[in-house]
Amino acid sequence: MDQVKVGVFLSDCGKQLSEILDFNALTNYVKKVSGVVLVGRSSEFWRGKGLQFIVDAIKDGKINIVVVAESLPKLSEVNIVQAVENAGLNPYLVEVIDLKDHCAWPHRKTPSEATEKAKAMLLAAIERAKLLEPLEKLEFPVLKSVLVIGGGIAGMQAAVDLTDLGFEVHLVEKAPFLGGLAAQAGRFFPTDDCAICIQSPVSDVKTITHTSRKCVYRSGFSEISNLNILTNSRIVSMEGVPGNYKVTIEKKPRYVSDLKCVACDLCTAVCPVEAPDEYNAKLKTRKAIYMNVPNVHPPVYVIDESVCKFHDCAKCVEVCPTKAIELDQKSERITLNVGSIIVATGFQEFDSSVIKEYHYGDYPNVITNLELARMIDGFGPTGGVIARPSDRKPAKKIVMIQCVGSRDRRYNPYCSSICCMISLKHALSIKSAYPDTDITICYIDIRTTGRQHEDYYERAREMGIKFVKGRPTEISRDPETGRLIVDVEDALLRRFLELEADLVVLAPAMVPSEGTKELVQIGLEPLLDEDGFFKEYNAKLRPTETRLRGIYICGGATFPKDAPTTSLHAHSAAIKAAKFLTAGKIVKDQRTAVINEEYCGDCQFCPVICPYGAISLEPTSEEHFVARVSDLLCEGCGVCVGTCPLNAIELRHSRPNQMLAQMKALMSVNGTSKPLVLAICCSECGHTAVDSSGMAMMQYPANVRVMKVPCTGILQVHQFLEAFKAGAQGVMVVGCKSDGCHYEVGSQKAEKKVELARMLLKEYGIEPDRLEMFNMVFIEGNKFAEAAQTTTEKLEKLGSLQLMGGS
């Protein structure tokens, strides 16, 4: 590299800072630092004349490293870096610090101490900047196609959105027909209309307004030219990287040609095989060749290969007028290359039979909400009649039981959130059709939190539906009459009730679907939460993103949801995927981890710890391998650096020598009688808490010096010791909340390392209290100021640190 020529630019923010800090002293101090060739001073350097001054200095070849002290660096840095790049210098050779919120304002009552701290801050920035390396920007291609897994309402809505935007979409559904759980649900709340309709695609030109809803079978959904619908198909494997995934799909044979079938129904009339109808919750049977209901998509029959006698029977082949039945179809493997994946695998009902005292699966008249939904549906197994499965007689007394397996720490601790509304909807719909039906709902708490949801509860009371506050302990059956008896305490009456019933309807918990569980096998397990649902990257800001760039989630796959929320979620996932795909490329910089292969030695810690799956192991010989970092997947947190036992990993721009130079500089000037404290803050929440304390002019002593790291997870135990060696009397580690780390695990890892380092300090005869971890967010500036104050007081009590070797 050329000779180091550092330009330092001091902004006094319109003299706000020069009233507190002695800018002449700062200028004189900086001028003497080796490598500094130019010192500028202005009221601002992030725009206008000030910024032009920096640009000119670069263009004239006066400087090749830029250090700026400017307020609000998180904003101003963007402008400065862009200008530096435009001026022809590598934009990564810039260091911006904040003398206002990190120095002048929080120490305004002790101006001379503040000036000394400012010197240390400037020196740290210059020393770090001198060690920075120029970095290149990397580009990775992104295919403009999407795979949507799951053909329920979430998957279909997301697919329509993306095809409307012009992307090529592959929609994979493992069942032979689209619709998912929604297709079985009949009606939805709060609209009380049919479940199985979607917003029509823009290609449907006959629709008067594009916002109108349409049944799937007449929506034009199947005719969207850039939509490839694969039913009866499942994902077998997935490999590749964001922007370029290779997905293998197994498409099972339908045995009926979708090009020839005219859905005339002659085949089902002659088929001699009866099988339980799963779509109708096994409340009736269907033939081996079947269609769920007449209005499904695709409108093509399918043969159930587990029961069909194929060539031994072949009656359907004989009768089919269009020769559509092809008994020799084989399953096929399809390979798709897609840029992005949307997971919309939905949820399903919890298996209530594990709660033995409710006898589901044992007593035929104990059914679930989904089974009841099929009965209520006019297309259903009973044609809309509410009947006892045992003898098909109408059910006159119905008891509904809420929270079956939900809010139950033995099975699913969460509230499934939609079951109260489902039961209320069912109760209202039965009571409207058959007003003499006696319905009692046993509940723990009724939860109707959405718009218009409370109306259902109100109407239910109005119509005479009874509510018992209590969770039944048991359902028993009268051995003579066969009637069911529900044993429950009404907690409000403090009375024990034995409710007789023709039919007991359980409201089971909603749990992750089989489809979700299958995706575990293709490597998506790290994205699941403790309940088995897909976990969003950030519940507030990124509800449909995952921590794997390019993979999005929506609908019930993330948690049980009602239809409006599922829709909303699907649109969100679609727009996130579209944002990712539109540019056709991913642009990243190289502030990523880099492996020193000479030191790397077979331990496998880093690939396991990396939250982004960015590290893989590559064999170097028969028994040895070496870690490799993908610059595309690496998010630059440095958690691997902090974990590597051999110091074989470094993070570009946060290398140990760069951090050490910074530490030493921060501790080189004291200017106060107080013990020096190094506060190592993560660049996310920790550092912004320091910003906010300064912005609010909260006062803390100037002996506390702030050093920024990408994530506290990067820290290694020996770095704490180095800080003490560099002159710190105490070290504060300030990270995000342990369950809110921007890099998932960094803050937790840092906590563990601080714990370990404290044990080591004790061994070395150093008070462990000199090192402490803090967790805070931006709005907790007061917490930082307090922590800085109490740490200083604590260290004053402890007295000065005695290290072996003198310093």
Binding site: C403, R407, D408, I444, P472, T473, A491
Partner: protein, 169 residues
């Protein structure tokens, strides 16, 4: 709960800190315990849900001086079926221990305890029973080894609790 009575919310913390009482605050009053309880079905004097609720509200006096907590028959039906994994029967044991420390214990339990300390049996064996045994072909009752038992009871502090009770009553 009567109006104006002092409610001490810390009582739930006291119960939680006792062995067996840890799960108290998980309760959301669904009543599965009550409908599972064979005692509650035959007497209004005991309802496990209510005992838990009163403890949560800090109605200390009502809980520990009343007889409800002593009516639990420890069948553990409630505990088996509680969806929140509240260890109801164990919570009741914790409450009984707190009650005993305050000197509340029904006489019958107190008599059991004295009998245990004195004879090594919770029920005193009457002359009638002793005479009856041989006629039924049963061997005479063996001595209980009460000395060893007393050592154990003394090591656990049981004897002191019992003494305290006798002093206060």
């Amino acid at each position: 709960m009567e109006h104006g009575k002092t409610i001490s919310l810390a009582f739930s913390d006291v119960v939680k800190s006792r062995l067996g009482g840890e799960t108290l605050t998980l309760c959301y009053q669904c009543g599965t315990c009550a409908s599972s309880c064979p005692v509650a079905k035959i007497t209004p004097r005991f309802n496990p849900r209510e005992v838990i609720k009163l403890s949560l509200l800090g109605e200390k006096d009502e809980v520990i001086s009343g007889d409800a907590i002593w009516l639990c028959c420890s069948c553990f039906n409630c505990q088996e079926r509680c969806p929140q994994k509240v260890e109801i029967a164990d919570v009741i044991y914790a409450l009984r221990n707190i009650a005993l420390k305050k000197g509340y214990i029904p006489n019958i339990y107190s008599e059991f305890a004295s009998a245990l300390l004195n004879d090594g049996r919770i029920v005193k064996v009457s002359k009638f029973v002793e005479n009856k045994r041989p006629t039924l072909g049963l061997p005479p009752l063996q001595p209980t080894g009460v000395d060893v038992l007393r050592k154990i009871l003394s090591a656990t502090g049981f004897d002191k609790l019992q003494q305290k009770k006798e002093e206060t009553s």
